[in-house]
């Protein structure tokens, strides 16, 4: 009995110790970003590896907000990411519902299509997409980015939404349909409320992906008026590569919205994937 208790305690210590390692590994790079962003320039070199500077300043943030175009980039990114998230989730909900509830001809072909769309380096389609969007006036425009990002995100978002729908028993909407509701009504009144966590997770996932995208934002849009945050940050880094304080302050600003969103939605992601995970 004694040995049993001891083993249990040992297991607990080991468990907590390992988790602490993971926490440090996950958070330290973010902590360092924050630390350098509040370190005054004169202390940056003299106190290089100290964990926290002896004096902190918010000057870097102030100059990023007041003297750069980051507020504009921030606004552009917010518009593009939220529109992409809404549009992708809408389209993917339809496809996910279709896959979850119907067996139909061409289903395997569509799944294959979605799989192939994940298989190649996106660099390869930059030029063709540019040629496709240019005559439509969709290059150097936020709308163009929204269209492109939506297409990129729909396959994975569909997979997510399908696994959320799979977790909702069919009997629920069938019962509603027997009671005289059309399928679409059943979808809206019965299924939709149950799938709100799934919608939140998918929205958050797509928002994060769109917020991060660099390549197409860089290649399709050239003017500052249509630049997103990643492009602005990259330009800033190549122009002022020694101003570490300001670069990291801009980086922290870029992190705030996605981290806040992710913090809220991550448990829905786990929940939603649980439903679809065991299917063969």
């Amino acid at each position: 009995m004694r040995a049993h208790v001891l083993r249990r305690r040992l297991f607990r210590v080991l468990h907590a110790g390992l988790l602490a390692c993971f926490l440090v590994f996950a958070l330290f790079p973010l902590f360092w970003l924050l630390k350098v962003s509040v370190t005054p320039n004169d202390l940056l070199y003299s106190e290089g590896v100290r964990l926290w500077p002896s004096r902190i300043t918010f000057d870097h943030y102030a100059s990023v907000i007041a003297h750069t175009e980051f507020p504009l980039f921030f606004r552009n990114s917010a518009i593009v990411s939220s529109s992409t998230a809404l549009l992708s989730t809408l389209v993917a909900s339809g496809a996910g519902y279709g896959f979850s509830r119907f067996a139909f001809r061409g289903r395997a072909a569509i799944v294959g299509l979605m799989l192939v769309s994940q298989m190649f380096p996106l660099v390869m389609i930059v030029a063709p997409i540019f040629r496709l969007l240019s005559p439509l006036g969709l290059t150097d425009s936020l709308t163009g980015l929204v269209v492109v990002y939506t297409a990129f995100n729909v396959p994975f978002a569909t997979f997510l939404m399908q696994s959320f729908f799979d977790g909702i028993p069919r009997d629920l909407e069938e019962a509603a349909m027997i009671d005289g509701a059309k399928r679409f009504q059943a979808l809206r009144l019965v299924v939709l409320p149950l799938t709100l966590p799934g919608l939140a997770a998918t929205l958050g996932f797509v928002f994060t992906a769109a917020w991060s995208e660099l390549l197409f934002a860089l290649m399709l849009n050239s003017s500052a008026a249509a630049s997103t945050f990643p492009v602005g940050l990259l330009a800033f880094v190549s122009k002022f590569s020694v101003d570490f304080g300001q670069m990291m302050a801009a980086g922290v600003l870029a992190l705030i919205p996605v981290c806040a969103l992710f913090f809220v939605i991550q448990r829905y992601l786990v929940q939603g994937l649980t439903a679809g995970a065991v299917k063969g």
Binding site: F22, P29, L33, G98, M119, P121, L122, T208, A275
Partner: protein, 310 residues
């Protein structure tokens, strides 16, 4: 009379329409996504693939002609291509193995109930929310001896003699982007594996424990077989995705020093946007696509045979 006739005539018409609607219904749900993916991804993919058979250099008015397999012949003799192929294997295998291993351990740790689990889970998954290029920049800064602590720690541990930037060492630079990639990708595996773990019925474990199966036995007899299908599909998607993923390399090392971190996808990027040689870039991309499709086909077949045997 007329009313009855109308009613009788209308009934079959409505049921035909209804049947048609039933047949068409699943397509109504899926058409928008298919249309979007076909238009924005597959048509450009076909166009991009056709470039591989052309001599297409941007800003060069003489280029654009059809050259057959010339690009592929050049490629077979291109030492930089073979070097990048080798690096792609190192980059992809190390990243996937480390992400998966750490992700599995993390998922198992989080599957045990403890106080504050929700908060710990949210914090430990946070790197996934970090934009990929920013995680590349962040890790480049961590490796930078001026503002980052890592070189100084390496010296303290005796791994380096002077605090140098790992990213400028031709022998070890590739581990910089791999570290950033592992940091960034562990949460993905942990999330999907945790979801799979939580869908294993708990009574299975209870029954096994009553039968006297130890923790290791239970892991091998219940956990692993249950996780296997998820593992196969996530590893497949992840491998393909990491092999195609150039952001971290482009941001952290631009393929250098001396091409030692150049992988195929960053090589494609360099060919297309620094040399403007879209024909050659597409040929390299086509080779990468074929390799990845072959890999995916093998993994899917393995998964099917495994599932069939169960």
């Amino acid at each position: 009379m007329t009313a009855a006739a109308t009613a009788a005539g209308a009934a079959p018409r409505r049921s035909a329409r209804r049947r048609l609607a039933l047949v068409l219904e699943p397509y109504l749900y899926t058409v928008p996504s298919v249309f979007l993916i076909a238009l924005i991804m597959l048509v450009p993919l076909a166009v991009g693939l056709s470039y591989a058979f052309r001599d297409l250099v941007l800003l060069d008015p003489d280029s654009g002609g059809f050259v057959g397999l010339d690009n592929f012949r050049t490629l077979a003799a291109d030492a930089a291509f073979w070097n990048a192929l080798g690096n792609t294997v190192t980059w992809t295998v190390s990243s996937v193995v480390l992400q998966f291993g750490l992700g599995l351990v993390l998922a198992l740790l989080l599957d045990v109930p403890f106080r504050g689990r929700g908060l710990v889970q949210a914090l430990v998954f946070l790197p996934w929310a970090v934009p990929s290029f920013l995680s590349g920049l962040d890790w480049a800064w961590l490796f930078n001896p001026v503002v980052g602590p890592l070189p100084h720690w390496f010296v303290a541990l005796g791994l380096m003699t002077t605090p140098d930037n790992l990213l400028s060492s031709p022998d070890h630079a590739i581990w910089g982007p791999i570290a950033a990639n592992v940091w960034w990708g562990v949460p993905f595996f942990a999330i999907t594996l945790l979801a799979a773990l939580q869908s294993i019925p708990p009574d299975l474990y209870e029954a096994a424990a009553m039968d006297g199966a130890g923790a290791v036995r239970r892991f091998r007899a219940i956990t692993l077989p249950f996780l296997a299908p998820t593992i196969a599909i996530t590893i497949m998607l992840r491998t393909v995705w990491i092999a195609n993923f150039a952001d971290l390399i482009v941001v952290m090392t631009r393929g250098g020093p001396a091409d030692s971190t150049q992988i195929l996808s960053s090589y494609i990027f360099t060919q297309a946007f620094q040399r403007l040689d879209f024909g050659y870039a597409s040929a390299v991309a086509a080779v990468l696509l074929v390799l990845l499709l072959a890999y995916a086909a093998v993994l899917v077949t393995l998964r099917q045979t495994f599932l069939a045997r169960r």
